[in-house]
Structures are given as structure tokens and as C-alpha cells.
């Protein structure tokens, strides 16, 4: 797996540069960019992991939390710069429903087929439910309902307020998890982490992370520039590109590792990747993008379309109903995948 990704990077990056300079077909380049980003994000994941082990659990947790969705953040920033607000909001939606239903669902299905009733930390599950409800249900529904009666300017101001409150609470959540209540709710995954050895040395990890991030930034900018042509050619809307393409490309490496963890009966880690990543997108990536958008010509209020909002809220409710008891089975995984399929079909027709 790692070798394949290495090859993909070795071939993908030069071709990406060459192709964009030589004006190759946009459709072809779109595919090359996607594949290259997936391979690069696998490297970023491994580098972050190594660094986290060197840094110890606290700073390591912080690193994981910050760099976990770096690829998506980078792609979104270039989409913001290009004024494609619809793509950004759609990719946030796709990332949240994809992590919750597709990744967690597949993990539950795979883990549940191998083991009858895989368990995971019930305290984490409850802690995460509260965060999902705060971020997706409260902080996303609220501006939506109020914006009906507000002017565009007031809606943006309200969005900025909410974004700041969310980031502050996200930082508080990190303090809670890594400082004041670390180990209080028996984090088995933390304990496991103590035994692990870093794959790369500190220096190598920093260099890889730095180089891969630069490369991702370059390729992401090129990728965003192909969206218009790709949309026209395949008849895809901004919404579909965001919810499906960007969400899958931005999270592919993460997705793979969650399912592998579930297969190894490390359901705790799988759940942490899937649900933790959704929370990060909702509570950190989304509000940060709102604030960053103020630097560009088109500021982005935190107003999703109704289908996006409903898809996210329903995903949260189904995930909580399934995961709140701290154990799962193959059927619960299948239920989540069925819900994802229904949403996918819906967004395709939209």
C-alpha cells in the first residue's frame, strides 16, 4: 500500500506540473490531480502520525487534530479564492456525511462481519454526540433559520460570530480531551499509542510533511481550476462536485485507514477517525474557512442549502442512534451505508 502511494507521488507530481504547463486535456488532468492528492495525503497522514508519537500524547493529539483535515482545508481555500462558495459548502457537507455514514458505516460493516459485536469506548461516543449536536445541529441550523429574516450583511456578521464561538469551543474541547480529562474516560487508543514506535525520525517526518503540504497546495490549486470544465463535460453541478468528488479525494487516505483499523478489531480507532474527523470538519474547518473567506473578494456566510443541511443533520441523528451504546454489528453498518446511498442518489438527481 505504502509503496503504491510512493509510486503514485513519484509519477503524479511531475506529471501534474508538466500537464498544467503544457495545457493537457482538463478532464485527464482532473483525474491525475485527484490521484496525486490522494497519494500525497497518505504521506501527510504518516508524517503527522510519526510526529505525533515523537511529540507525546498531548502535542501529538493537537498535531493530529490540526493536520487531520489539512488537505481538505487547502483545496477549500483555493476554491474560496476562485469564488466557488457553493463547492466549498458542498465539500464540507460531503466530508461530514461521508465520514459519518460511509466511513463509519463501512468500518462497522467490515468489523461486524469479522467480529459479532465489536465494541468501542462508550464515553467517547457520548462526548462525540454532544459535539456533533452542538456543531451540526445547533451551529449550522441556527444561522439558516435566522437568515430568512436577516439582510445579507447581518447574516455574514452572525456567521462570523458563530465561527468564532465554534473555534473557541473547539480549542476548549482539545484542552478537555488532552489536558484536564485525559485518561479519565479510559482512552484505550491513547494507551495503545504509548507502545507504538514512530515510523520516521522527527526530522524526516517534518520534511515529508512540509514537502507534501507544498505539493498538495500546488496540485489543489490546479484541481480547482478544472472544476468548471469537468462540470460542463459530465453535466455535474457545483453541488455534486463538492459533495462527492472533493469530499472523497480530500478524505480518501483517512477512509482507508479507518476501515483497516475496523478489520483489525481496533474499532475505537476507526470510530475516532470517522466521527472525530466529522467533528473537526464541522467545528474547525468550517468556521476557519468562514474567517479565511473574509480575506477574499467573496465572503462566505455559514449558510448551507436546505438539502445539504438536512443531509448533515440526518447523518448526525442516525450516527448517534447507532453508536450511542458503544457497540455495533454488521447490520448497523449496512444501515448507515444504505442512508449514504439514499443521499448519494438524491444529490445526483438534484
Amino acid at each position: 500500500m505504502n509503496r503504491l502511494f510512493f509510486l503514485m507521488v513519484l509519477v503524479g507530481v511531475p506529471i501534474s506540473v508538466a500537464g498544467s504547463l503544457l495545457n493537457w486535456s482538463q478532464i485527464l488532468m482532473f483525474i491525475i490531480y485527484c490521484v496525486t492528492i490522494i497519494a500525497l495525503s497518505a504521506f501527510m497522514g504518516r508524517a503527522t502520525e510519526s510526529l505525533a508519537i515523537h511529540a507525546g500524547p498531548r502535542i501529538g493529539g493537537l498535531l493530529n487534530a490540526t493536520f487531520g483535515n489539512a488537505v481538505e482545508l487547502i483545496i477549500s481555500i483555493f476554491a474560496l479564492k476562485a469564488g466557488m462558495l457553493g463547492v466549498v459548502l458542498a465539500s464540507l457537507t460531503g466530508s461530514i456525511i461521508g465520514n459519518l455514514l460511509l466511513v463509519a458505516g463501512l468500518s462497522f460493516l467490515v468489523g461486524g462481519i469479522r467480529f459479532k459485536r465489536p465494541e468501542f469506548n462508550v464515553y467517547d461516543a457520548r462526548h462525540n454526540s454532544g459535539l456533533l449536536i452542538f456543531s451540526v445541529v445547533v451551529a449550522f441550523i441556527f444561522p439558516e433559520v435566522f437568515s430568512i429574516q436577516l439582510s445579507e450583511r447581518e447574516t455574514l456578521t452572525l456567521s462570523i460570530w458563530i465561527a468564532i464561538i465554534m473555534i473557541v469551543l473547539y480549542i476548549a474541547a482539545l484542552i478537555f480531551k488532552l489536558v484536564t480529562h485525559r485518561g479519565v474516560y479510559q482512552h484505550r487508543s491513547d494507551k495503545a499509542a504509548h507502545d507504538e514506535e514512530a515510523e520516521w525520525s522527527k526530522l524526516k517526518a517534518i520534511l515529508v510533511l512540509f514537502a507534501a503540504t507544498l505539493a498538495v497546495a500546488y496540485v489543489s490549486e490546479r484541481l480547482v481550476s478544472t472544476f468548471e470544465t469537468v462540470g460542463h463535460t459530465f453535466g455535474w453541478t457545483e453541488l455534486f462536485i463538492g459533495v462527492i468528488i472533493v469530499a472523497i479525494v480530500g478524505n480518501a487516505a483517512e477512509h482507508a485507514s479507518a476501515v483497516i483499523m475496523a478489520f483489525k478489531n481496533k474499532m475505537n480507532v476507526a470510530v475516532e477517525i470517522a466521527i472525530g474527523s466529522s467533528i473537526q470538519v464541522a467545528m474547525f474547518v468550517a468556521p476557519v474557512l468562514v474567517l479565511i473567506s473574509l480575506l477574499f473578494s467573496k465572503p462566505m456566510p455559514l449558510i448551507f442549502t436546505l438539502p445539504e443541511l438536512v443531509a448533515m443533520v440526518l447523518s448526525v441523528i442516525l450516527t448517534i442512534a447507532v453508536s450511542i451504546d458503544g457497540e455495533t454489528n454488521w447490520f448497523e453498518g449496512l444501515t448507515m451505508l444504505a442512508a449514504y446511498l439514499i443521499m448519494g442518489v438524491g444529490f445526483y438527481f438534484l
Copy 2:
């Protein structure tokens, strides 16, 4: 009770035939048809139960699941054939809120007055919550929200997709419950079933089931043809006839047995009848009706009216909040009945 039903069938079926041939008053016939169907469905229930015991728990569970809502399915098919889509959707709604709030509520009230804190299987309760949220909250809300922006044709295609996904998941739920995870979550009701003896021989049960189904089909067709006159005479809308009349007639026999079980402190069985039946209606009867409707001139998309959808979703949420801890009391039953009463008053005024 059984004798009374026997008499009702003995008298009701011939009178139904005679009355429909001799063109008696539609209002009178409407009442006779309703009473006859209730009596016949009691026989179908007993025949299914006997067959299920003969067939063993797996095939038996399948039989119960398939024939449990046969009467409602038959009435709905004739309503579909007559183009009364509004009645069909309303009767699905009435069936779901009636089973959840009226039947479960009455069972909790009756059981809770006799016994201080009647308990039931908490694993089943959680499993059922997931299914209710998937079917009612995800699969019913989704097409509703998307249909706002879709054409009629696209809405129907989306409905067909969702219907197929739901039926596949329903079959998976049966495999989960009857094959891969049977007994894993201590189904006390299953264990109890082993001790029971079948009331009727296999042959007798099959014959009764066959004859009763035929009779129900005949009377149902006649019943549907009286709806227009009945509606005009009493000033009832399609909605009210569906939510109240069809739902009560189609489920009366089942309702009675749930409450009797609760009275005997077999709360597990009562909950299984009430909540299990709602899940069946939502995940099996509703999507099957969507597919069957394609054979008739007016296809039926899975789009409920807003009050119907809200009533179902609120019923699901209240039921889950009340039942998720695996025990109940008279006050929780009363709360559910109060919610049913509020909805009943609402639909009456609509």
C-alpha cells in the same frame, strides 16, 4: 374473544357479499365491511401464529414479518388501484403513529398500572430505534426535501430508488434478526415461543390463512369503494379516513393482542408487536406499495404531506425517548397517549 370474532366472520362475510350485490346503503356497508375485516384479521393473526410455531423460529419469524401487515397491504392495494394515493399515504401515517403512540402507549399504561416498572429487552429497543430513524426519519424526510427542487418524474425515480434500498435493508434486518444474530441479544420472547404449542394443525392454519386472506381481499375492495360516499356524508377528508379509519381497521386485531400481552406482563411481546409493526409498515409495506403503484395508472411517489411527515417523525422521537432505557411506567404510556390525542385533534381540524 375468539368466539365473538368467529361469529362476526360467520355473519359479516355473507352480509358483505349480499349487501354489495343488493346495493345497500354505502354508510351501513362501510360499517359492516370494517367490522368484518377486523374479525377476519384476527383469524389471519391466529393462523400465522400457528404456522410460525410449526415452522420453527426462523421461518416463523419470516412468516410473522410478512403476514403481520397483510390486511393493511391488501386494503392499500385496492386504494392504489382506485387512484386514492392520498388515502394510502395517510393510512401508512396512521398505521405508524397508531402503532407507536396508541398501541405502545396503551400497553405501557396498562402494564404500568399493574406492575410498577415493567421491563423489556433493551437491545431490541436500541436495534428498533436505529431502524425507526433510518426508515421514518432518513428515508421519508429525504425525498420530501429533495422533491422541492425536483421535477415530478425525478421525484418518482428517487422514490423508486429509495423503495428498493429500503426493501433490501429490510431483508438484511430479517437475516440479522433470524440468522446471524438470533439469540445474541437474549430474545426472551423467542425463548418463550419454544414452549408454546400451536393452536391449529399446519394444514388447518394454511387453509384458514388462505380463506381469510381471500375474504379480506374481497371485503377490502368493497370497503375502498365506499370511501367517497362516506367522506361526503360525514365531511371527512381523504386524510382523515386514511389516518384514522384505515389505520384502526387494518391494525385492530394486532392492537388488542399487544395490550393483552402488556396486561400479562409480557412487555417484550407487546413492544415487539407495536414497534416492530411500525418498522414493518415503514420499511416494507410503504416501499412495496410504491413499487406496486407502478403497475397502476397513477404511480405513487413516497412524498407525504408536511403534517403527516411531522406527525411520524415526532412519534418516532417520543417513542425512542421513552423506550430507549428498556423499562417503562404508567406515566410514560400516558404521555404517548396524550401525544396521540394531540395529533388526532390536529388531523380532525385539518
Copy 3:
């Protein structure tokens, strides 16, 4: 604290009378009225507590339940009389979200900083969840959705029906808690109450309660008459005055005691005050106000504005997600405060 309140009453009441007779500035009087009501309601609270201890747990519970929101009820009646329906509905909203998010949130934060994982009665938490869902989610959403298709007259009739059903269920809830299931779910707070001694004699408590209620009634009427001027001067809408001012003034004394209890690790009592008070407002104060409004020229249907309804429903969902496991921590408190802040900003911009 008690001395301060005594001084405030001693000075506030005469000044209130003098100021209203001498036509002092409305803005000044608005502030004096608010402060006086807060001080008076502290006295009412102490008198009720003393009476409750004299009367024994059953009648005492009833007294607490009835007089707990007396101040708010009185202010609202005068607002109804003045035809300010918007203020009344907004103050109900403010009272519910304030009790749930601000009071419970602050209690969890304060208790959670002092003690790592403060616990409270999990049975009460579940019982309360059911009531919150019944009252806020079912009984408030329902008339809202149905009123879209109903005439004004029908909406009012539906509201009256729902109000009566809610009051009946509220009385049943008191019977459940104080009679049939008292002590069944180990009410630690009840047990603690047995040890407490009344602060005042029975006679003194009755006299104080009587005098304070009279004084509150007088000052409340004056307070309502200042709303128009205050709104004009500060540019506040009826909505903002109701959600923020009336809600805080009407509940301030209660708020303080909940937080003090949390600080003393009596989290059970704090939760009972915060969540119990919301339930009382939703299930008793709101429907009683609907019925009382029929005596005045402008009857009040139970129809909130969409932002109000959404704010209440989201508060209930977040509170249940956080409190359902019977334990808490500082971060959960902070999450609730963050949600309150978001709502506060939203209502300010509206």
C-alpha cells in the same frame, strides 16, 4: 445575599410606588422595577421552600411546582392584558432556553470545574427528557405545522385543546412523581430534604409569600407599561425584550440558587431547578397562559415564531444529549453556554 435582597426590597418597593405616581423617567423606573422584582422573587422562593418543608414532601413538591414560576406567570398575565402577545411568547421561549442552556450550562461548568465528573440522578434525567420532548417538541411543533393550513379560529381551538391536554398531563406527572412513584427512582434530593429545617415558621412563610406576591403583581404591571418606551429608546423589539429581559428578571433568583447548588456538588438539585423549571414553563405556565388569554380581548394561540421554536427545540436536543448519561463535566457546561451565546447573538440581530 439574603440581607442584600432584604435591603433591595425595603428600598425598591417604596421607590417603585413613588416613581410610578410621580411619573419619573420610564427608563429609570424600568431598571428599578427589574431589580425590585428580582429581590422580591428571592423572598417568594425562600417562603415557598419553608412552607414546603412544613407541609411534607408531597404537598411541598406541589407548592414548589406551583409557585416556582409564579413571578413569570404574573408578569406574563399583565403583558397578556396589555395585548403584548409577542412579549409573552418570547418570554416563554427565553425562560425555556435560559433555564436549559444558561442555568444548567453554568451549573455544569461551575460544578465541573470543582469536581471532575459531577453526577446526578439518571432516572430523573430520563424522565425529564421524555417530558421535554413531549412538551416542547411535540406540543409546540404540532400546532405550528398545522396552523399553516388552518384558519385563525381553528388554530386557536387546536391551541386550547393542546393546552388542556398538557395541563392534564402535567397534573399526572405530579401524581407520578409525588404519589405513585415517589422514591422509586431513589430521589436523593428528597432524602436530603428530610434533614432540612424550615427557615421560617409556617405563619411567617405564608405572610411573606402573600405580601411578596402582591408586591410582585403591582411592580410587574408597572414594568410591562414601560416596555414600549424602553423598546423605542434602545431599539429593542418585543422579541428581544421577551427572550432576554423578562426571562432573566423572572428567573434570576432561581438561577442563582441552581449555580450555588452546583458549586456545593448538589448537582441533583441544580439539575432539578434548571430542567424542572423548563418543564414547568412548557407544560404548565404556557398552557395556563393560553387559557387565561381567553379572558382578555386578544386570545393567544400557542404559535411561536420559527426562530423561537427552533431555539427551544435545539436547546432541548442539546440538553438531552448532554444530560442523558447522568454525569457531566466542565466542557459540557461550556458547550451549553456556547449554544446560548449563539442564540443570544441571533436574537439580537433579529
